[in-house]
């Protein structure tokens, strides 16, 4: 069953968009099944060895096997109603091989028997040999030492699946009620919880058993002014996180106060939804922005998406090389620019790093999906482009000896390929708070939360909206604005960055569903930053009359 079929089988139109988040071949299970331990690790090793041995016997020079169990629970509500509770499980095995210098891949669902897995490995070798006839460049796989039998577990404090569904429903409905009491006309409120139990083994001698958890609370509050035929929305200022239910435990230390409260590693849904209801109403009658040049102060809850689109994607090596030309596009950040060693991606304030290790981030794992131990590396140093994101069959192109460890497949049935690591803007080195930053701004807009986003296929020209826009005049926040979007060129924009707040303001934002590939695969990724200031950015007014 594919994702689309599953949506339709559930017969829940309202939940349709949400369902597309489910991994392939998911089947509906009772909630208790999400807590069942799954296959014993020794059994996984036997299955993996069966696949690796079968691949080698058939002539593979390299093989890896991924045994994946993907568990999802979605709780969907609107106003005082539960629209759906989805509990889903997807289990199977994917085998990837190199034979005759060419990749081959095959997968099999519900595989619990060694002979079935071995057969998939043989199929993968046959596919590799068949495709080798069309091969122009044999695979060059960067060497990787084996790590033996290892494991990694996301540092969660409370497994979300251990929390009774009723407790979650009660929280969402209580939050919805609070929003309605504070002036909202409509609320959609959903909670996504994900557990990926992944076992990786390769002919390099690594057997990595990993337990990955993600959580994503997400609401939209709508305020309607029927007399004037206007409406406004305000989305939650939560972030999807690589955490357990502990993300929903409120903690004063995780709150960032100011013009509105934002959250670090503990999210207060009740507080945020009340603010959202009031702000959605305020937005309906807020001042419409006057188009022109403004200094922008961008909160991490907004900044993550700008980083994602204008830094994360253009520095993916497969895009640079043209492998995504027919879908996601290519990149302006071409190899010749990188080779000059003086390509100013941004101003001196701008330092981007990639990593797969930040605790609580969506990208964090111990080993990637081709057995590489994860790490952190620089992409842009003091404004200069210094590196890309690459995997084992690409790193030789950028002169690296080992992979950076950002290979990922969204399911056992999908073939792994290069995906975005967490890409983050390093905090400023000199002490600077948001208040201090705003104090110096004469004509600016302070933007909080992510909104509309669009960027061209080579990542030059972008346009972003947001959730909350505050006008800054002579160092003071003077009121709310609406109809705001900013347009810029990636390089000009990052070169207009004049200050980044220090690490006290550093927070993560992110997305569960970064899409790439044909057939498309989704990947979850976080982006950290502190609030940053950009001078003289072009702001347009998006109001129209129809």
């Amino acid at each position: 069953m594919n994702r689309r079929d599953f949506n339709q089988l559930l017969g829940m139109g309202a939940a349709g968009m949400v369902m597309s988040n489910l991994p392939a071949f998911s089947r509906s299970v009772p909630a208790e099944a999400l807590l069942e331990p799954g296959m014993d690790v020794s059994k996984k090793k036997r299955l993996a060895d069966a696949a690796l041995n079968a691949a080698k016997a058939k002539g593979a020079t390299y093989a890896d096997v991924r045994i994946g169990r993907y568990l999802n629970q979605f709780v969907l509500t609107r106003e005082n109603k539960v629209q759906g509770i989805i509990n889903a499980e997807s289990y199977g095995v994917g085998v990837r091989v190199i034979a005759n210098g060419c990749w081959g891949f095959a997968s099999v669902g519900d595989a619990r028997d060694e002979s079935v897995v071995a057969k998939a490995a043989e199929t993968a070798v046959n596919i590799a040999k068949a495709n080798a006839r069309l091969l122009t460049e044999p695979v060059q796989l960067a060497p990787q030492k084996g790590f033996g039998e290892v494991s990694w577990k996301a540092p969660i404090k409370r497994n979300a699946f251990e929390v009774p569904v009723k407790e979650k429903v009660d929280l969402l409905l209580a939050a919805n009620a609070a929003a309605m009491q504070n002036g909202a006309n409509f609320v959609n409120n959903v909670l996504f919880q994900i557990n990926e139990q992944k076992y990786f083994a390769s002919t390099d001698g690594t057997y990595a058993d990993q337990d990955i958890h993600r959580i994503g609370p997400n609401f939209t509050v709508t305020a309607v002014d029927p007399a004037n035929g206007r409406f406004s929305t305000r989305n939650s200022l939560s972030a999807p996180m690589g955490m357990g239910y502990d993300y929903l435990q409120t903690n004063p230390a995780d709150k960032v106060t100011g013009v509105t409260t934002r959250y670090n590693k503990g999210y207060d849904m009740m507080e945020d939804i009340v603010a959202a209801a009031k702000q959605a109403k305020e937005k309906v009658s807020a001042k419409s922005v006057e188009a022109g040049k403004y200094d922008l102060i961008l909160d991490p809850s907004h900044m993550w998406l700008t980083i994602h689109e204008s830094v994360g994607h253009p520095l993916e090596l497969d895009r640079v090389l043209g492998y995504e030309a027919n879908y996601a596009g290519t990149s302006f950040a071409t190899l010749d620019k990188w080779q000059t060693k003086n390509f100013n991606y941004g101003s001196k304030e701008v330092n981007f790093f990639a990593d797969k290790i930040q605790p609580g981030s969506l990208g964090a794992v111990g080993w990637d999906d081709e057995g590489v131990k994860t790490k952190k590396w620089d992409l842009v140093k003091d404004g200069i482009l210094v590196n890309y994101q690459a995997i084992r069959d690409q790193v030789h192109i950028i002169g690296e000896k080992e992979s950076q460890g950002c290979c990922y497949a969204d399911n056992w049935s999908s073939v792994q390929f290069q995906r975005m690591a967490n890409v983050s803007l390093a905090p400023g080195k000199t002490p600077l708070t948001v208040d201090q930053m705003i104090k110096d701004v004469k004509k600016g807009i302070y933007i909080i939360g992510d909104g509309s986003f669009s960027i061209d296929q080579q990542r030059y020209n972008f346009q972003f909206g947001g959730q909350l826009f505050y006008e800054v005049k002579d160092g003071q926040i003077v009121g709310m604005l609406k109809d705001v979007a900013y347009q810029a060129n990636t390089r000009e924009f990052w070169n207009s960055c004049v200050a980044v707040c220090d690490e006290r303001d550093y927070r993560l934002g992110g997305a569960f569903n970064d899409g790439k590939g044909q057939p498309p695969q989704s990947s979850a990724v976080s982006h950290g930053s502190s609030t940053a200031r950009f001078n003289g950015v072009n702001v347009i007014n998006t109001a129209r009359k129809i």
Binding site: L9, L134, S454
Partner: protein, 449 residues
Amino acid sequence: MAILSKDEAKKIIDKVLSYSKADEMSVGLNGSRTGNIRYARNSVSTSGESDNLGLSVTAVFGKRSGTATINEFDDASLEKTVRRAEEIARLAPENPEYMPMLGPQTYLETATYAESTAKINPEFRAQAAFDSIDPCKKKNLTAAGYMEDSTGFSAIGNSKGLFGYNKSTNVDFSITVRTADGTGSGYANPDVTDISKLSTKASTEIAMQKALASVNAKALEPGKYTVILEPTASVELLQNMMRSIDARSADEGRSFMSKKGGGTRLGEKLFDERVTIITDPMNADLPLSPFGGGGGGRFGGGGGEGIPQEKRTWIENGVVKNLAYSRFWAEKKGVKPVPGPSGFIMMGGTQSLADLIKSTDKGILVTRFWYIRAVDPQTQLYTGLTRDGTFYIENGQIKFPVKNFRFNESPVIMLNNVEALGKPVRAGGNLIPPMKIRDFTFTSLSDAV
């Protein structure tokens, strides 16, 4: 065997229903075989094939429902799945918007299946890729493409006697051709039910021609321009608008179809009088699944509640004639339920794209838009960019390629600024005419090729 016949599907569904102890039960049975081939840098990168057959059971007690799924079909497994669905239903919260299941329905026999597509095999896909890569290699151009074919069936049944079955096929092909120096790029993206109507070579030649013609693009100032939109360019904007044509959000005051002071804009003239948009499952160029409602898609795949699809006019001579009504909202408003439009037909004229260009004094030919995202749902304002070939037209002729633009525009405004409509062609699972539109808003330039 992923593709079951009508009789085989009915037998399984009837068996499942015979195990039911619930107040109501519905069953969905779907099978598909999909294959794909992907290439880039003139070389095949991945190809694959997968077979899937799955059954879903929804049990209902009062207003509580539960769904369980399985892909094993022995009696014990089927019965176990029924029990599990019932168990989930008993524990589920009440859905106050639950609507009792429909009784028996009569469905149209639509031509969604082509045997030629069902016969596609790995060798066929490799040849299709070769036919696309080879001409590019010979001209020192770089091809990146993807073809995905699917053959499937969808059967639905319920304890009130409803049964429906549909078989369908589809092929989507997309090809991007770039010049070796990266200064030109072209694209084509046909979709067909019947593979014999697709030539990857012919589509690739269109993309090659656009790639070569778009080299050395000149920059024009952003602003308002008369544009000619090829169907591949306008399709996503129109689809987005048609997806929002929902009565409930309009009644709730949070849609472009909401009326000032309350209610919907049903019956109002919102567009130029030349704008007429219909859906017609029997159209030979765009056959659709015969059932809809709650997820019934173009390629079968469920059909959810099983509301029969029929010919329907959404916009006629610029006037809004229909909005989509879920069964719940229809009952609340005392009207007939109307499944949302998927696969629509926008009526046009007889002119070709070339005719539209010929009749244009000054304008921009847009062959594709990309990365379209909503900016303001209130006005259906979207932003996005031109891509893979944008050209300046003067005195009825294409003069030179132009750099890509970012636009901020609403399809509602666009369909009020109609200058001319050409002959509709299939694009993205719809029939759409090439359109000449005045005062289309480009807000900035992009260096992307």
